[in-house]
Symmetry: C2
Subunit: 327 residues, 2 copies
């Protein structure tokens, strides 16, 4: 049994807890929190909740620590720090800062001799792997990534900060015509506006100026101004009834050519349709926690991404079973 620790206890961590408890080869050993441990009730029976400050004392009792902090401020500190004591996995998703994060984590993990897997989830993660395989196979081609239909937490938060807004949920939606143009092999050049639309559901305070709220949303720089955005005002009850899930997903498509005169067109498409963004991301983290442990057992150390890890390490199945049933 691979002994797993979970660092943090938000939505993502609760998904990791589910995935670890469902796996036949993993057991949850402890959950670490920066809050008062006595105030945190977890779903697993008999598993201790421990103060984050005491994590280092668990170095011998945990094989892999799955770090469930946020990418903005938590993970840049937590992952290098925890890699001093544990094999670790994180879902760092600030694409532009991955090279710096990689470097910091790598230094720490090489020093401690631990394996640190960063930036796994679905984007970065499974989408990255799909982009990489597809571009290696079809070097003469073009990549497209579409997100949605799904909830963008950042955009929902941006709306909630507008005066007069009680609650908001924003869906990112890929434009069907753009998807079809890409799938046709035409390799279109697509603007931001042509790829995605944004649909917002807003609960306004009683008496709030809805026209003003709508205008503030659709003209908001970076978040909405470059998109075709629709705004629906709904009741708090409707929000709860119809918009309480956190679905997401998207498409990675590569369109490429082969042939003496590049006459043959090939389309590689990878699609995710997820009812729960955090639970799916958590399931990827759990699979890479298994990989981190196996690679550590092989004597490997340092920082790794999904690009560095052979697929077989993610599975709980034996290699014989994999080649006889899945190859």
């Amino acid at each position: 049994m691979i002994r797993i620790g979970i660092f943090g206890y938000g939505n993502l961590a609760k998904g990791v807890e589910l995935a670890v408890n469902a796996a036949k080869d993993m057991e949850l050993v402890a959950v670490f929190t920066r809050r008062d441990p006595s105030s945190v009730k977890i779903n697993s029976v008999g598993v201790p909740v421990v103060s984050a400050d005491d994590a280092a004392a668990w170095a011998d009792k945990i094989d892999v620590m799955v770090i469930c902090g946020g990418s903005a401020t938590d993970l840049p500190k937590q992952t290098p720090e925890l890699a001093k004591y544990f094999n670790v996995v994180d879902s760092f998703d600030n694409h532009a800062n991955i090279p710096v994060h990689f470097k910091n984590v790598n230094e720490s993990a090489l020093k401690s001799g631990k394996v640190a897997v960063i930036s796994v989830g679905w984007d970065p993660g499974m989408f990255s792997v799909s982009r990489m395989y597809a571009s290696a196979i079809l070097p003469d081609g073009k990549d497209y990534t579409f997100w949605g239909k799904g909830v963008s937490q950042g955009h929902s938060d941006a709306i909630r900060r507008i005066e007069g807004v009680l609650d908001a949920k924003q869906y990112t939606i890929p434009v069907e015509e753009a998807l079809e143009a890409v799938r046709s092999g035409k390799e279109p050049e697509l603007t931001v506006r042509q790829k995605h639309t944004r649909e917002c559901f807003v609960v306004a305070k009683e008496g709030a100026d809805k026209a003003k709220i709508e205008n503030e949303i659709v003209t908001m720089p970076n978040y909405f101004a470059d998109y075709d955005t629709t705004v629906h005002f709904i009741s708090a009850e409707e929000m709860k009834a119809n918009h309480s899930r956190i679905p997401h997903g998207g498409f990675v498509i590569r369109s490429g050519r082969t042939g003496v005169n590049a006459e043959n067109q090939h389309i590689i498409e990878y699609r995710l349709k997820l009812d729960s963004n955090p639970e799916f991301t958590a399931s990827v983290l759990a699979a890479y926690a298994r990989a981190a442990w196996k690679l550590s057992q092989k004597g490997e150390s340092g920082c790794m991404t999904a690009f560095d890890i052979a697929p077989k390490y993610l599975s709980e199945k034996s290699f014989d079973e994999l080649i006889s049933t899945m190859l």
Copy 2:
């Protein structure tokens, strides 16, 4: 530059030749044939065609040999034999016999200290990798593989053996309703007949009994009897004009669940739509030839499949470029 040899010179080999010539980090060194070398004209200028019997003499001049024989009788002999002298890659696609092929190739490659990558292409190959990632991430779920729309060479050949048939092409077509049922997350149990239909285009000899040919096709055991099959009789001109390409493709879909009560459904779909089955397979072989060379340079040896090889080894891009542009 990675020095590549190609063993055999059929459709697949011609695709490998194109992929190697298009790659910035590979050069084609020689093509090996069992025919009289002087009778084989290849597309690459200045590259020698050599007798297959003389291959061993090229051991020091070739970094990776891409073996383009057939799975029925060629590869079971060729791959273990050539792995004595070269890092090798093959597209062995007889799924049931992969464990035996793996064992034979592994023994040979371990003895010689070479890397041998077997069974790469799209199925086995990219479809296998997709099945493996998806099942590791969503262990509570169900896998579906659909093939097509595409030409099945085996089924086309079977029709051509019928008396009165001059030429034939058979398309395997996934049933749209079955695909939609799988994508909906219902995890249906599907019979062979419910998953695929077969469409046949046949050029009959003048005066042949078309009703008899059609009946022989649709009732043919293993090949057609278990499917809904349609037969179209066409002219030789129409065959040439409309059915001379070798398209293929298909879908790997995993439908899985997470959640305290398995209440969240997730769909992972990997789709290929290929104008040329052999050229795409060849492009996968070329990428794994690169991987074989890199792994050999790292001191690895023995037989490997797509499950054993980290994605990064397939790319001609540097690791820094990969993490800054694709992760």
